[in-house]
Subunit: 330 residues, 4 copies
C-alpha cells in the first residue's frame, strides 16, 4: 500500500516522468492556516541544484486543490500535486532493457510484469519524496511546538562533508552519509507495546524513503558493545528526566519525554557515470552500463528534510491517537 | 495496537505475572498440520536456564485451544496460550514505586495512569516474546521451504561470545549483542514502494521486540562510508543474481531474490544487580536501586529465535498478499 | 479478519464445540472498574432456556485472564473466555456430510477445504455472540452515559411476539423478527463521509452477527415511498434538534445529536426439526434431513443484547477517535 | 477515513464547488488495458440532464494522471480527477447560515468547526459519487466475467417509475426509490466470519453513498415474517445450488455461488423548492427556506450505477484477498 498512518493518513502517487507526483492527506484536523508559502522553506531544502545534487531543476511548486477552504484546512482530504516539467525521458528510454545496479528497475519489472513506468524509476523515483516533504510541512504545523530537526552529520565516512563530496565528484562516483534527527519538546506517552512501538512506526515510515539502509535509536548499534551499567539512563525526577539518553527518548516503545534521537544510514546514489555491469534483458547477455542522465553525487544531502517530514507525520498520527491534538484547531 | 499483519495477523496479550501470555493468530490458511511437538525446538532456543540467562524457569508449554481441528489448522483464529507458573511477584512488588532505569516502568505508569500491571514489567515483559515465537513456528511452516536463520554474531563487542558473557557475569553486569538474520530461497517481489517496503514492514515487526536499538539491511551503516561504485551490486543474470549483496536482497523496497540479510542491535539487559539511581515515586527523592530478582546477563542470547519468528510472520503475510501461499494448504 | 475497530478493537475466536469461545479487546482505556458481576445482566439476556430458545444451557461465565489488574482495566489487551461444557457433538457428527440448509456448513467446507470444525457450526456458531456481548459490556461502561437500548418489536410478522412463538413451536418450525435499537444522549459528530459514515461502520458490525438479513436507519425502506417534503426533518434550533427524525439521527454519515434509530431484520432460525432437502456430500445424492439437536424457535429473541453490544463497540471506537473518551479513565 | 478496501483500496477527495473531485486507487493489478472511453458508459448512466435529474451539467471527463503507462495499469496508484466547471456557488453562498433540512450542512459545520467548504455540500456532495463510478469502471474490468447489475425497481412507492417522477415534479417535490443489485457468476468463498462477512463489507461501502437509508440481502426484511421451513434454501447439489435464494447468495457471511442479491432504499432528494423550516445560524431564529439552486427530483435514478461501482470495488478486494485475481493481469 502507498499509504501510511492511522488517523493522520497520507497516500503518495505519481511517477518521475509522468504528469505529476503528489500526496493525498486524510484525517488532517480542520482549522490549520495553510498558504503556499508555507512550503517554500522545506521544499528548498530538498531541492537540487547545489553542489553534489542533480542538475534536474523543477520549480517544485505545491498545488493544493482540495481540502483547503478560505486559507484553512477544511477537515476534508487534502490533495497536493507537483507538476513534472523538466523531464528528459530520452535519458531513460535506453535503460528500459538495462536494469541499473542498485536501483529498483529489475525488481519493479519482475513484480509488475513489465507494465511499470520505468522512466526515471517511475513510481520508485526519489522525486516521490517531494510528496512526503509537502505532507510533512502540514504535519509540522500540526505538532507545533514539538520540533523535529534532522541534519547530515557524516558523508562518505567524513565529518567534513564538503570535502567528501568534492572527492566523490572528482571520481565521478557517489557517496552515502548519516543523518541524525532529534525531536524535542517533552512528549511522553507516544507509542504502544507490541506492535506499534514508537521505533516500529517511525522505522516503518523511514524505510519508505529510498536509499535508507539502517536506523538506530539512541545508543543504537553501539549498545551492543556496552554494559548495562553504562547503558541504563539513571532517572533523575518523576517526569522521567534522565542523566544520559542512550534510550534515545524511548522506553518500552513509548516516548519518555527526553529528546527522541535517531540516526539513519543513507547509501551512495546508485546512478553513477562509472562503468558497471548489468544484464541486457533483450539479449540476455551481460553488458557494461554507464548511467549518464543527471544524478546526485550525494543523495544524503537532500534526505534530512525528508526524514523530518516522515517523523512529523508519525508524530502527528501518534498525537492524534493520544488526543494531544484536537480534530478542530482554532 | 497489539496486532500486526494484513492477511496473516497476530495479536499478543498477557502479562509477566498474570495468568498467562499468548497469541491470537488470524488469517492462517487451513490445512497446516500442527502438533504441540512442533513448538519444542524453537521454544527451547528461547528458553532460559543456560549460562547468561535468567534462572526463572517456566515449562513454556504451548496450549492451543482454538483454530486447530483434528490436528490441522481449520481456517479459524488460532489461540495459543502459555501459563505463568514460576512467578515471584514479591521480587517486583517493592519496585512499584522505583522505576527501573532502562525499563518501561515509568513510561507505562505515565501512559496508563498507574493502572498498568507493573509486576515483572507486566505486558511489557520479554515473556511476551514467547507468544511471538509460538506464532513464528506456525509462520515458518507456512513459508516453507523459505528458510529463516538468525544467530548471535557478537556480544559485548566480542566475537567470542562465551568470553564476553563470563566477563559480564563476573562484573554483575549485563551486555548487549548483534543478531544477524538471513532469509534464503529466492523469493522476489515481496514488498511495496511507499510505505510497505520490505524493510519498512520488517523493521516495524522487529522493533516490537524489547531491547532492540537498531536495524540495518545488507551493507547497513557501512553504506554511509562507501562509494556508489563499490556499493552497487552488479547484476549477473535476468533473475537478478548479483555479484555482491550490499543491498541485502532488497531493491526499491522489494525483495530481489538474493538472500535477505539484516542485523539488529540488542542492548544490554536493563535489570542488573549493580547499584543504580532512580526516583522514589512516593517520596519524590532520588534513591539507589539494586534490581535483585532474576535476570539475563545477555538477553541477546535469547533473541535470535524471536527475530526468526517475526521475520517468518512478515514473510507469511507478504507471501499471502503476493499469492505465493494459498488459503487452503493440502 | 475476525477483528473490528480502529482504536477500540475486538477480535473473536473459538468454536461451538471446541474448548471455549472468547474475545480479545485491544485499545481499551485504562482505569475502568471491571468485575465479573458486570457481565451477569447482559449475559442473562442473551442466555437460552426461556420459551423459544434452545435447551442447550451453558453457565456462560466470563473468565478475564489478561488486561485487568486490581479490578481495573490496565490498558493492556483484555482476554475474556467462556468455556464450552454442555456440548453434544454427537448431535452434529452425523451432519458432517449433510450441509444444513440456511447454515454456513457448505460455504465453510468449500472455503476451508473441509478443514473447518463443522461441529455445531464451529466458528460460525451463534455461540460466538457471547464474545460480542462480553465486549459490549465493557464498551457500554466506556460510553456511559450514552445509552443503547434494543428490543424485539415484531416476530413472525406479529407485534404479539408471544403468540408468534407459540405458533412456531406448535408447527415445529422457526420464525424471524425485527429488532429496533435506539442510542440516546445527544452525541453529535460521530462518523465520517466516504467511507466511515456512522451507518457504514455500524452496519459492518451488525452484519457480523449471524442471521441478520437487513438494516435500516430512521425512515429506512419507508423513505423510498416518501416525498422529500415529508421526509426532511425540519431543524428547530442551532444544536440541530429536529421536529421529526426520519434521518434516524444521522446526516451525511455523521450523528446529528438526535436519537440514533435503526432496525434489523433477523431471519428464522435455520435449524428446524421439519424435513428439508440437502445433498449428501458422500453419495452426492439429495436426501431428506431433519435437524434434531437443540434449537431456538426464534433466535431473534436473543439478538437485542447482541445488537446493543456491537452498537456500543462502534460507539466506543468512534468516541475514542473523536476524543470524547480519554485513554485513562479515572 | 475517506478510504476503503484492504488490497484494492480507493480514496476519494474533492468538493462540489472546488477545483475537482477524484479518486486515488491503490493496489490495482498491473496490466489492465484502460482508455478514457472505458468510462463513457457508466459516467453517462450517472449523469444528470434527463427528466427527474438536476440541470447542472458537467462534461464529467475522467482525467487519469498517474498509474497508467502506455495504456495499461502499471501497478502504481491510479489518480483520476474530474474538473468542476459548471459551479454556481452564488446559489449556495446564501445557504451558509441556513442549514438545509435533510443535508449534512449542520453536522458538517459542527464537526469541522465551521471550516468545512459548505458550497453545494462541499465534500459531502453527491458529486463525489463520480469518483466512485470511475473507480468502479476499473473494478468491473478486474472482476470480469463476474457481472454486477443494478436497477431502480421502484420510485415513490410505484413500480411505474416514470409516473412517479412526473408526479413529484408537478408537486415541486422529490421522491425516493429502491435499487436492486444482482451479482452473477458463481463466485463462492468470498467473505469471512466475524467481522468481514460479505454483507458487512458491502453494506459498509453502500452506506458511504449519500441518501441510502437501508440495505437488505435476499429475503431481507421479509425474512422477519417467514417460517424457517419457508426461508431455508434447499440444497440441490454439491456446488451449493439452491432451489430458492432467500439467502441472497450468502451463508454465514460467505458467498455460496448462487446470485448475490440485495436491495437498497434511497431517500427522496433533500433539496426541494417547497418551503421548509430551518434555523438561521446568525440570528438563531427559525426561518422559512426554499432551496432554489438545481436539484434532482429523484436522485435514486442516478444511484444504480453507483451501487454497481461500490459492489465491484468490494468484489475486487475480496477476489484479490481470495487470490481469484492475480497481481499482474496479462
Amino acid at each position: 500500500m502507498n499509504s501510511f498512518g492511522r488517523l493522520f493518513r497520507i497516500s503518495v502517487f505519481g511517477e518521475s516522468h509522468g504528469n505529476q507526483v503528489g500526496v493525498l492527506i486524510d484525517g488532517c484536523p480542520a482549522g490549520i492556516r495553510i498558504s503556499e508559502d508555507d512550503f517554500t522553506n522545506d521544499l528548498l531544502r530538498r531541492k537540487s541544484g547545489a553542489k553534489g545534487t542533480t542538475p534536474r531543476i523543477e520549480d517544485d511548486k505545491a498545488f493544493i486543490s482540495s481540502g483547503v477552504f478560505n486559507g484553512y484546512t477544511s477537515g476534508s482530504p487534502i490533495l497536493i500535486t507537483f507538476q513534472n516539467k523538466n523531464t528528459k525521458s530520452e535519458d531513460y528510454n535506453k535503460l528500459a532493457n538495462f536494469p541499473r545496479p542498485g536501483h529498483a528497475d529489475l525488481t519493479a519489472k519482475m513484480k509488475y510484469g513489465g507494465f511499470n513506468d520505468y522512466r526515471g524509476g517511475g513510481h520508485f523515483s526519489g522525486r516521490l519524496t517531494l510528496a512526503l516533504v509537502a505532507a510533512g510541512v502540514i504535519a509540522k504545523k500540526l505538532i507545533h511546538p514539538v520540533s523535529v530537526q534532522a541534519k547530515l552529520i557524516e558523508a562518505g565516512g567524513l565529518k567534513d562533508i564538503n570535502a567528501a563530496i568534492d572527492h566523490a565528484i572528482k571520481n565521478e562516483d557517489s557517496i552515502g552519509g548519516i543523518v541524525e534527527c532529534i525531536v524535542e519538546n517533552g512528549l511522553s506517552g507516544l507509542g504502544e507495546p507490541f506492535f506499534d512501538s514508537f521505533e516500529s512506526v517511525l522505522s516503518h515510515a523511514v524505510f519508505a524513503i529510498p536509499a535508507i539502509k539502517g536506523i538506530e535509536f539512541g545508543s543504537g548499534f553501539q549498545a551492543a558493545k556496552m554494559f548495562g551499567s553504562q547503558h541504563n539512563d539513571q532517572i533523575m525526577d518523576s517526569k522521567g528526566t534522565t542523566e544520559s539518553n542512550f534510550a534515545g527518548g524511548i522506553n518500552g516503545g513509548i516516548s519518555n519525554g527526553n529528546p527522541i534521537v535517531f540516526r539513519v544510514a543513507v547509501k551512495p546514489t546508485s546512478s553513477i557515470s562509472k562503468a558497471q555491469h548489468t544484464i541486457n534483458l533483450q539479449s540476455n547477455k551481460r553488458e557494461e552500463l554507464k548511467v549518464t542522465g543527471r544524478h546526485d553525487a550525494c543523495i544524503a544531502l537532500r534526505v534530512p528534510v525528508v526524514i523530518e517530514a516522515v517523523t512529523a507525520l508519525v508524530l502527528a498520527d501518534f498525537m492524534l491517537v493520544e488526543q494531544k491534538i484536537p480534530h478542530v484547531v482554532s
